[in-house]
């Protein structure tokens, strides 16, 4: 994975919605699912990486997928070029590490 690639994040309530969002995100654009975090009290997030445009499309689609199921996302963001120190945080949530 190239470093400093754009980052897309979605946070919502419960694993049912976040799985749907993650699926929609990865199908919508050329992004890789790189992270997952069960924050606490039902707050769950996923992180995807790819080009800025791909991340934007992925996040938009993810938000829509959750809304179509009748729920709403708590927050979502696209970071076009993450600061290098953010890599340390992202590494904590990497799926490779969690498995």
């Amino acid at each position: 994975m190239k470093k400093f690639e754009a980052l897309g994040l979605i946070e919502t309530f419960g694993i049912v919605y976040i799985l749907e969002a993650a699926d929609a995100m990865c199908k919508a654009a050329d992004v890789d699912l790189v992270g997952f975090e069960n924050v606490a009290s039902g707050y769950i997030s996923v992180l995807v990486r790819g080009d800025v445009g791909a991340c934007k499309t992925a996040v938009e689609t993810g938000v829509k997928a959750v809304e179509d199921m009748g729920s709403s996302v708590y927050s979502s963001v696209v970071i076009a070029r993450p600061h290098q120190d953010l890599e340390k945080i992202i590494a904590r949530y990497s799926l490779e590490k969690l498995l």
Partner: protein, 98 residues
């Protein structure tokens, strides 16, 4: 990064990790500060801590707090100009590099 106290510490706390990550990115880019820790403290609260000169930390916290509030819920933000050394030890329990 190990934090020993006696240097300005900036804190931003949000509900959820998405605003926290956005805040961390904006803080690190806004001024010459270094990431000390990023911690999920529980009950959905996530805290970012940075260190540096007082002025830089103030600017970073302002930018981070604004960024977090724009996309999510900000619960607290603070600048500690010169915490005692023992505070540094507590903060370093959550050291990002550990």
């Amino acid at each position: 990064m190990r934090y020993h106290g006696e240097e300005a510490l900036g804190l931003v706390e949000t509900v959820g990790m998405v605003p926290a990550l956005e805040a961390a990115d904006k803080m690190l880019k806004a001024a010459n500060v270094e990431l000390v820790s990023y911690e999920n403290v529980g009950s959905t609260l996530v805290t970012i801590m940075v260190k540096g000169d007082v002025g830089a930390v103030k600017a970073a916290v302002e930018a981070g707090a604004a960024a977090a509030a724009a996309i999510g819920k900000l619960t607290a933000h603070n600048v500690m100009p010169r915490p005692i050394r023992d505070i540094g030890d507590i903060v370093s329990i959550y050291d990002i590099d550990k």
